[in-house]
Symmetry: C3
Subunit: 266 residues, 3 copies
Amino acid sequence: MSVVCFLTDFGLEDDFVGTCHGVIARIAPEVRVIDITHGIAPQAVLQGALVLRNTVPYTPAGVHLAVVDPDVGGNRRAVAVRSADGRVFVGPDNGLLMLAADELGVAAAHELTEERYRLADVSHTFHARDIFAPAAAHLAAGVPIDALGPAIDPETLVRVEVPKARAGRSQVSATVLDVDRFGNVASNAERAQLEALGIAVGDRVEIRLTLDRYYAVRAETFADAPPGELILYEDSYGLITLAISQGNAARLTGVSPGDELRIATT
Amino acid sequence: MSVVCFLTDFGLEDDFVGTCHGVIARIAPEVRVIDITHGIAPQAVLQGALVLRNTVPYTPAGVHLAVVDPDVGGNRRAVAVRSADGRVFVGPDNGLLMLAADELGVAAAHELTEERYRLADVSHTFHARDIFAPAAAHLAAGVPIDALGPAIDPETLVRVEVPKARAGRSQVSATVLDVDRFGNVASNAERAQLEALGIAVGDRVEIRLTLDRYYAVRAETFADAPPGELILYEDSYGLITLAISQGNAARLTGVSPGDELRIATT
Amino acid sequence: MSVVCFLTDFGLEDDFVGTCHGVIARIAPEVRVIDITHGIAPQAVLQGALVLRNTVPYTPAGVHLAVVDPDVGGNRRAVAVRSADGRVFVGPDNGLLMLAADELGVAAAHELTEERYRLADVSHTFHARDIFAPAAAHLAAGVPIDALGPAIDPETLVRVEVPKARAGRSQVSATVLDVDRFGNVASNAERAQLEALGIAVGDRVEIRLTLDRYYAVRAETFADAPPGELILYEDSYGLITLAISQGNAARLTGVSPGDELRIATT
């Protein structure tokens, strides 16, 4: 177990990520760190949990260090969670880890209390550096999970709820989950919900978003529509997503995560 | 051949880059990935091709994975191109790879069709993850290029055209190719074109840019002019570039890639 | 000595950082590079020096390559500085390296003049690629520091001055040193200065910042205040910092590094 996959909301403008890399390299020089992303919106636990869940299948088995931690310094626990396939998820007990871990099945969970596996001085505000990165490094270097602290009942771990899209007779009311660099707008609408409304690839649908109305084509990929046209497609993680072929749908519509997206037949 | 140099327009806010790192590490754990940049402007194939060409001489021989791919999911081919010196360029057949590959000489080209060297499920919109990164990983791990798919006639590979600056009797009409973080504005003007106009280091030149007129000094480096003054110099990749000593020329002038830049004698 | 820790103001939008990674990998393939950050504000030498000093204790011993270099191409020297504990700092002689190096004690300093340890063609404007990264790679690969050029008297190395906060009878006048991604505003006020005014954890203080007045609670961590309230706490590097629990203090106050921050008893 010699890989740590690392995901945070720290950005790369500051030294937070680099400092954690340094801490890991001091403890476990032979361990490789793969940065999944540090671009989770600040303190957006749900977004972080979704990205972690979506990307785990594409990463090597090992330790998954994830930190989006609005309650750092408060009462939330620091935990390590082992999944049935032997991966270990390290981070705050606020739901961030659990969409991924529950999907794989939780085999064990421990609280990170053992001082030997923390830095000597633990700050009030940078537990990624002082608690989480050291734990991940020690785990990747071979320390067994039960050495890091007492076992926790997995049932007591905090979960986040993923909002569900609601389907009516002629429309689906979905929530925007994510907006990416290309302006693609991912929602929680499900393919089956569109199919139940009779919406097939090639059909024209009506979109309601941030007080405005648009028309889009249900497509499979960007090339299915002329440049500049809105399309509704299933993205590479299976999310129903609004995009503009060779354009930026988020900029056009002014949408943000959490906004309502309504999709209706025409 | 154990290094993959990686260049895209994906940015680092999303998980696209990290997911590709994960895919490569799963296939070829011993291969090292060097991120050249992921800051190419979205879908800017020409800019990506120029940066790839400029940086290749500074990178280890190995596999060059480059993805700027506005036509993903359409008819453009996925290719691997081997240069005369043994490097292999992997990416979409839209010209992105070819400024670099043609400079080195193309020895062979293959289409990436072999399913064994793709992920099991290929999405319509994320071929970097599903086709290109797996191909790069297998190549770096030692799979021969001709195992990845049928040979292609190199003549049929798509090329991009780099716009050329035009020189008149008293001025050069150039195109802005790139604006960097420091606000330095690189153009396609050539040193020989300036010299033909009799413009030498230390001379004052007139600049026309985005409807405005400026004066700059032909210089060798930032230190040749007092802070705040515009200079015109040959940048570290050989491009004639407009800058402000200890300032930001792009912010002053409001310029974007593609804009015209006219340089005239005074 | 097989790690290079790398810090610049280059950002990641351009290829500057990736090209330096390439140069290092060509010279010393077995050396690992850890990116501390490349988000130092352009040409902000003091900020870079502070981040370097703060992060060194969390990084492996090795070579520290740091480049914030507004006078590139001018007369400033290129140097390598060895600290008493055996680390080597490589970069421009403009003070960037010296907060860190002086804290550890300077054992030796050399100017980087030896052509064998530079690239063959040295540009006027990209010494990170042509001089500093090659030197760091050779040092990390085992070249002794005195092979890189003549010894320099450490006394002649340029230092930056960290502004000091001034304490009056009822207030501290401090300077903003840094604003991070979460909008936390770090200052040079010292904990002892607050204590001398009788300000204890839990107390309410008055803040004067950018012409406005605010009230904050002296706290230990974000969780000590309800969401939305301003707190004043000692950050994880020991700096007295203004923040909003689960919010963005910099956005609220419009502050920038260099601004005055006054903290007064109420």
